[in-house]
């Protein structure tokens, strides 16, 4: 009987861990996309400095969870976000509006995609 309880306990722990992970991914990706959205909005107003700062904050937040995401998510997905940030930062530096919009849009989609693939839904399950 002890083995059943240990096994059940491990299963419950794993499930709880995965739910905490999903919640964490939602929170981090939500915060990053929020910053990237705001950066895009201030670029439209011509405030490149503010956009650089917001994107830099988003990049730092991304780097702070780098190890966690590398352990829990597909390496290809996380690598794409890392290179996406470098691309966006480059366009922000040279203040290229069209290229920035395109690169930032792609980065936003990639960050959102991380949560989309992790969240509990019938689409993902099936």
């Amino acid at each position: 009987m002890k083995r059943i309880w240990i096994s059940l306990g491990i299963l419950v722990l794993v499930l709880a861990g995965t739910l905490v992970h999903i919640s964490g991914v939602r929170s981090v990706t939500g915060s990053i996309t929020d910053r990237l959205d705001r950066a895009e909005a201030v670029v439209e107003q011509g405030d490149w400095e503010q956009a650089r700062q917001l994107t830099q904050e988003a990049k730092e937040e991304w780097e702070s969870v780098d190890t966690w995401f590398a352990i829990m998510l597909r390496v290809g997905d996380t690598d794409e976000v890392t290179t996406g940030f470098q691309e966006v930062m480059g366009f922000l530096q040279y203040e290229e509006t069209a290229e920035y919009d395109s690169a930032n849009g792609t980065l936003l989609e990639k960050v959102k995609h991380l949560y989309e693939t992790e969240r509990l839904s019938w689409t993902n399950l099936l």
Binding site: I10, V14, V75, N124
Partner: protein, 226 residues
């Protein structure tokens, strides 16, 4: 990761149902839950081993979940007879007092050729000489002939025979099996006496020494034919 958790559970249960539906012949020595675990484990371990793009957890987590589920199901099959029947099935009687039970053969998708093959493997050519043939959960066929078809046992002949008992290895290639020695309630002094009776001075000279429950010692010296 939660998707991985639920997918693992769904696929595991689905595979158990599939193995049960495949019938007893496919199961072999293992329980359906263990067979499914064995089927899945090797693949699960090899995927993150080869694909560096996948985190190690993608292999570790499903393995952990499967082992826990197998443990739970195995314990439940031990505790509940009904659950055991559901997961492992129940033995099927395919020959009853020399009569073929065609319904059971059909239910187990066992052809007459396969049944006859099993009988021949047990040295039986005529199924009417079989009292019971039971297809076990493991897929093995237990064949019990009529008593009149089997060799008479000493008990049936009212004879008394000497029981040899199970021989236990005391010395294995010059090494003393102390656990076995203790189990047989013997000590080093007794062992030395036995060796000296055989003209030996050290256990290193012994290749094999066994002792059975009746106290019979069997000793093979090194370099000697056993």
């Amino acid at each position: 990761m939660a998707i991985c958790f639920f997918r693992t559970i769904i696929l595991y249960l689905l595979l158990i149902v599939a193995v049960r539906l495949m019938g007893k012949k496919q199961v072999g020595e293992l329980e359906p839950t263990e067979l499914v675990l064995a089927m899945l484990l090797s693949d699960l371990a090899s995927v993150p081993m080869q694909d560096f793009g996948l985190p190690l957890l993608f292999g570790v987590l499903p393995i952990l979940i499967l082992v826990c589920l197998t443990m739970i199901l195995s314990m439940m099959t031990m505790k509940s007879v009904r659950f055991r029947e559901l997961v492992c099935g129940r033995p099927s009687l395919v020959i009853d007092h020399g009569q073929l039970l065609q319904g059971e053969l059909e239910r187990n998708r066992l052809t007459v050729d396969e049944l006859m093959e099993e009988l021949r493997l047990k040295g039986i050519t005529d199924f009417s000489t079989v009292k019971y043939a039971i297809l076990e959960n493991s897929g093995e066929m237990s064949i019990i002939p009529y008593d009149r078809e089997t060799a008479a046992t000493p008990r049936q002949m009212n004879m008394t025979v000497k029981e040899d008992g199970l021989p236990v290895i005391l010395i294995n290639d010059g090494r003393v099996m102390t656990h076995n020695l203790k189990h047989m309630q013997r000590d080093d002094r007794w062992l030395k006496e036995q060796l000296s009776q055989q003209g030996l001075s050290s256990v290193k000279e012994v290749f094999l020494m066994t002792l059975d429950e009746t106290g019979q010692v069997n000793l093979v010296k090194k370099g000697e034919k056993g």
